[in-house]
Subunit: 297 residues, 2 copies
Amino acid sequence: MDLKVYLKEQCACIDKALDRFLPKETELPHSIHKAMRYSVFAGGKRVRPILMLAACQAVGGDYGRAIPAACAMEMIHTYSLIHDDLPAMDDDDFRRGNPTNHKVFGEAIAILAGDALLTEAFKLISDPRFAGGCESSGLLAVIHEIATCAGSYGMVGGQVIDMESEGRHDIDLATVQYIHTHKTGALIKASVVAGALLAGAKGEHLTAITRYGEAAGLAFQIADDILDIEGTTEEIGKDAGSDQARGKATYPAVMGLAAAKEEAKSMMDEALRALEIFGAEAEPLREIARYIVQRRN
Amino acid sequence: MDLKVYLKEQCACIDKALDRFLPKETELPHSIHKAMRYSVFAGGKRVRPILMLAACQAVGGDYGRAIPAACAMEMIHTYSLIHDDLPAMDDDDFRRGNPTNHKVFGEAIAILAGDALLTEAFKLISDPRFAGGCESSGLLAVIHEIATCAGSYGMVGGQVIDMESEGRHDIDLATVQYIHTHKTGALIKASVVAGALLAGAKGEHLTAITRYGEAAGLAFQIADDILDIEGTTEEIGKDAGSDQARGKATYPAVMGLAAAKEEAKSMMDEALRALEIFGAEAEPLREIARYIVQRRN
């Protein structure tokens, strides 16, 4: 398979669905809907939704039925970026080369746009018009998985520990691991688990997909840490070396660049091993795991 | 029935359940769980959860099965207060006589505590351990109702228009109505509808409860506007007259105090009329409607 073509097609499919599912700018209140759409369509690569569709397919499901939940996942990812960028948090003026949400719409609307995207995500998954043959119990399980991974035991928890670790010089590997598996890893794991659940996966199939998600999620974040050092500003869409400048807790910072590269590779291998029980349907998931570690942006 | 005793008992029941459902302060990350609990246990009257239990009972259900969703509703209400109080929004230092969340924990944790409470709400309703005999399709409908009423078409939308209207002198009744029915009304309506859905209500029963929720929600907010003028600082737990001082869009501001009182009374009557098809099981809902308009805090 040609991964580039695959990613482009799935990305277009997600973008089209997001445009359909998000409130229109013409609907009241215009400002919030404009702000929500601004950040959702600010050039995201749709990694999480594409992983959800690929996981649904890997366990033998029709990926079409995972499209609403995949869009919900991207809304949650986007809300987290909007709130992370706020002055009280990371205080970033640019993301992917564009002014951040609060620079364009002001802090109040940025906070509310994040809140509304998070809420809209759960509204979308529970919308009977888009259930597409999924059983209610399956959709409920998807909501529970996503909410668990997005909340204080997951993504938000990772963000808290990340913030509290910034600038400290005594951060150990266990703390960096906690931050990475929670802040980024949790949503990536939830994406593939949700995709599998929507295909009705159970038992060893669900276990395998979960293992894949955990390993791929960690690989993704270690690769990000490495890119921050080795990538150019153009490649990564933010200032190269900004993690280092901020004293962020990263894998290269606690174990050195070479060992971090080994660890990313080892996580990719683990992700691939988890998929051994699947056949050709899991090829996109395999290719994505390789891409995660080798990408330059 | 003695409403005071009833409210006290139901409030204690909700408080106990919230304590059980909320993450413990001893769990990582401690700071966020402490912040979440601080605002949830800051003296709320539990109006929304009590309404949910009462609505469940009014349509013939066992209110016990609505307790998780009722707690989820209180988490959503609390998140909205934490975010409303932020410096970028209303910039309030005190709520119900206590320092606001960001004054105690800082802005970053306050933003994240709100995010986590909103997420926790959907996690709780979808938790299979607490389904208590409710059907998955019913729980999914509850999630959809709550998310719809909490998002940009509901509570968040009301907050946006409220903010954008502040200090303007050309606010008309339609705008104040939009703000009230969305910012406060939507969650109150969602509370009673969710309670009825959890009891399996359909058809005219569900319609009647919805009508009650809409009328009671509007009555509640108009009564709040009136209290801001007539209540003492001690009674209302914030500076009396603060809406006026801020140029907030209120019913008394657009139609005068006397007409606003008439309107609150008329909404209460409408709420009571909607309950005519129910028997004695709806008595708590009726008493609450009367209390909403007559309360002094």
